[in-house]
Symmetry: C2
Subunit: 454 residues, 2 copies
């Protein structure tokens, strides 16, 4: 390690214990299972390159000294993506934070730029990101591409892996003499949502949406089923512009204190285009909803998607969650069935999303964690209603169920990371799990989740 560091010269780094702890953590504490398994896993050094040239030097040194490395943005992933299982280096990309260019509806930026900063710069040009996670303020572009899959805007544009949502990626290979590769077209998905195991991402090119004037809305309903029906109706109201349709059963709204949602109500958190406000209000009346908030864009998305779970867990650490996708046919019927069957145990949270060309809802429900047996029972109970589960309690990429890791992915990995140094332990079957990883991790990977990989 010392020889490795000497070689890196003036590239900023730290071996200070608190920094190692902080920079080796992500939001996998959302899962009590991963939380236990990953506790105490830390890197031995945090490296903070400032330029692509420094990133190349790091890649070369890691290859020559066989130092494992984990690329890190802001550490806002939920699946242990950023937790080093085998020590080594965390490569914090925050120094590569430039918007390189923006031309019309396309922009290219360095991987370490925070999405909030990027979006603010784009707004000045009348543009915005097509989609972003609820962690926009903190999260980086490279982190979103490497560990995310969808977000605010997905109700319009589908998910990140859909053709057209990610135009190009520049990566550095982990070799003695690193290569700098540009991936375009379908090849971007070799790296997208691969937890940083397939090359060090330094630049991302992405399509933009025109900046709209959004209204943050809260609409409350007497019961959740009505709120879910409204959500689907709004999501499929083609003439009403929207960027976010997020629906929550009580008591979830109680975790959103600043929103002052009345006791016992189900709530829809929404971003609506100002130009279609009247049509939106007519739809609200159809479903007997009450608009309790309507303000120009003020960050309501921060209570939705992954942040819903965060606000809930901050209020009550006894809770945990699962992630599921409701079926294409009779989406609302399936939501209703699951809610009626499990509503007392499971608090429903829906994010409406375009998925594989049709509108559906992702569920991110919360429940009080009682152990593996309960988790298994709930997974099976959802799947029995035709609802597919993505396993968010494993750090194994294949078992997450959001992406297929096929031979092409593995072959690509071997070409860009021949010594298997990138985020080791995250791709099952490729390398042995590092010592000390408990049986619980492996058990979690076997939870009965069908996933929704294509």
């Amino acid at each position: 390690m010392d020889a490795f560091l000497r070689e890196l010269g003036d590239i900023p780094h730290t071996r200070e214990a608190s920094a190692l702890r902080v920079k080796s953590a992500d939001f996998s504490w959302f899962s009590p299972i991963m939380s236990a398994v990953l506790d105490g896993r830390t890197a031995e050094v945090v490296l903070s390159p400032r330029t692509e040239e420094e990133a190349v030097r790091i890649a070369s040194a890691c290859a020559r000294h066989r130092i494992p490395l984990v690329a890190r943005g802001a550490g806002t992933g939920n699946f242990g993506q950023a937790v080093p299982l085998a020590g080594g280096a965390v490569v914090e990309m925050l120094g590569l934070d430039r918007l390189i260019w923006q031309r019309g509806n396309v922009a290219r930026a360095q991987a370490g730029i925070r999405l909030g900063v990027l979006d603010t710069q784009l707004r000045r040009q009348g543009r915005e990101m097509r989609m972003h996670p609820s962690t926009k303020k903190l999260a980086t572009l490279g982190g979103f591409v490497g560990g995310g899959h969808a977000g605010v805007g997905t109700v319009n544009w589908g998910i990140l892996r859909d053709r057209g949502n990610l135009l190009g990626l520049k990566i550095i290979t982990i070799e003695e003499t690193p290569r700098v590769l540009e991936l375009r077209g379908d090849d971007v998905n070799l790296v997208h949502h691969a937890y940083g195991v397939n090359g060090l991402v330094t630049e991302v090119e992405l399509p933009l949406a025109p900046a709209y004037e959004w209204l943050d809305m809260v609409v409350v309903f007497d019961d959740f089923e009505r709120a879910a029906e409204f959500g689907m109706a709004l999501a499929t109201a083609d003439g009403i512009l929207k960027k976010l349709v997020s629906v929550h059963a009580w008591p979830i709204p109680s975790y959103f204190q600043p929103l002052c949602i009345p006791e016992g109500k189900a709530a829809a958190l929404l971003m609506i285009g100002a130009e279609t406000r009247e049509g939106f209000e007519a739809l609200v009346r159809d479903y007997a909803g009450t608009i309790t908030q309507c303000v120009p864009e003020a960050g309501i998305y921060e209570y939705t998607w992954g942040h819903t779970t965060m606000h809930a867990l901050r209020a009550d650490r006894g809770l945990t969650y699962l992630v599921c996708i409701f079926p294409r046919d009779d989406t609302v019927g399936a939501i209703r069935r699951v809610h009626r069957k499990l509503g007392a145990e499971v608090f429903m949270h829906l994010e409406f999303k375009r998925f594989a060309g049709y509108m559906t809802a992702e569920g991110v429900p919360l429940f009080r964690y009682q152990g593996f047996e309960q988790m298994t029972r709930l997974y099976k109970s959802f799947e029995a209603e035709g609802v597919r589960i993505a396993n968010v309690h494993t750090f194994l990429l294949q078992n997450g169920g959001m992406k297929d890791i096929d031979a092409a992915q593995i072959g690509f990995k071997r070409r860009v990371d021949p010594y298997l140094l990138m985020n080791p332990g995250k791709v099952a079957g490729l390398d042995d799990l590092p010592g000390g990883i408990s049986g619980a991790a492996l058990e979690a990977a076997q939870l009965p989740a069908s996933g929704w990989a294509y």
Copy 2:
């Protein structure tokens, strides 16, 4: 009539025979049935108001003298909307042609503005219409709202009647002392696609889309079924920006001479966002298509939607058409079944559209007209495959099948046009059909079309 005209003073008008003939015609010649029935139906005078005040004077004079009137834009409707059945006045609205204001993504314009002029003015502000018909260059805003229902852009925004696509309308009632009414919200649909029977539209307020950089594309395929599969895949590729997905079986592309489409090929005519060109090209490869044209926006839409029929009929007046909508479930399967069953007789033309919240295709197929019996057989043959037909061979609003004319519509009509002077004969059951309307018209209205009114 003379007293009526004297009262109108200096409002421009003509009683010249050729003008009466031209200004009493629309594109109902697309239908051999309507063409025969409506032949020779002309107004007695063409009035050309230049201001809203003049339109009010016309409304008052018509009411006092009991003169029937037909509001006219550019006469590009296909359903006899603009053909006067009972003489009287044609009120040509082209003089009311101002863009009144544009603020952000909302604009308000006078009804007589041509859509092409409006769209050009909006582009200067970085905006465009959400949707427009293939007749954009000629057609007026009021005509589109009164007689149209969808168009280029519908693949994104649904149809005109969908909440949010039409924000407000100003109408003048036909009374001795006309009232000027503003309709907003769902009330706009009292007037939209009502063939001008529910008040004289003078202003329209509508939401805008941001102006995108569109590429006009032609992609050819060896067979139509593959082209249809590609069309659906593109229409549901959420990350690929598009404004038009129009698919044509051979020999329809042979009617698009300037596009030079190779003999025997099926063709997709498309508008694609420049920023997602690479993803689009990957999709084309998946379906073994060949891109034969890719240029910055140059009017390819003029070969699609209603204009497809126009180009075909200009080449071969023996052809006619029908309009259908394919079912939500297994859309492509239904297209395939109909094509296999009737492909030798019926040349398929598809326009992919968002309809009632899901993606489907409208069919506007062409065939060589052999008479009523054939038309009835084809209607039944489509309907047997779960494909709903809108009857484009009748001028009766109810029987067109694109809109429900319910008690609210009729009640509204009686309030804004108490003497039933507006476009008489178009609403069945309200007034007697004017003399001389042949049995064929009534027979056509009874063609077995289920329509797709909500």
